[in-house]
């Protein structure tokens, strides 16, 4: 299945890109995708505790099962206001 990953705020700077696509085994858990993402972008390791993750428009945890076409977003703690 195909899942796209978007990077926001300084995740975009760390990754050097805004979006990329991952080809994954069907039903993979979000946590496993994040491991792959950190493999491609080792700089994400250092901000691991400051990483928020959404699938579509909702926050999700590591156990969440991904589906084909999902859009995953990685971003730092939010700072509105």
């Amino acid at each position: 299945m195909t899942v796209s990953v978007r990077y926001w705020s300084w995740f975009k700077d760390l990754a050097g890109l805004e979006r990329e696509v991952f080809e994954l085994d069907p039903g993979l858990a979000l946590g496993d995708l994040l491991a792959q993402v950190r493999g491609r972008h080792p700089k994400f390791e250092q901000v691991r505790k400051s990483t928020l993750v959404a699938v579509g428009l909702e926050y999700q945890g590591a156990e969440h099962r991904l589906q084909d076409g999902d859009e995953v977003s990685l971003f730092p703690p939010v700072q509105g206001g």
Binding site: R6, W8, S9, L52, A54, G56, L57, E58, Y59, S73, F75, P76, V78, Q79, G80, G81
Partner: protein
Amino acid sequence: MRRELQLVREPLDEDSLRRGWIPSAGSGAVLQFLGIVRGREGDGAIEALEYEAFEPMAEHQFQKLFDGVEMRWPTVEAVRLVHRLGVVSVGEASLWVEVVSPHRAEAFAACQWLIDAMKQVVPIWKRALPAPER
């Protein structure tokens, strides 16, 4: 509960926002909060903040927070919230929130809860644009 949400790139026009309020005969309390960009951020003087948002998710999360206000304070009649995106200069408002309710207590509680919750879940980020050195 009436609800209104705007993510805007232009300066807020407070006067016209204010005139957008239609009181009911039960409205006893109107609380309005303005968040203003301050001249210092962390260590240094700044000229502006630049706000970036993941807009569809921000809108969705704001709507869930409005649901949360409605559930926690069923008497709240209206919530309006405007957040600026893009470059917001020092002294300008980045956030405007209005809560209307029959009584004062729930307006204060709902407004504070909404802003606190926004700062936890709504995907908006800011970046300081430093002031030029003198």
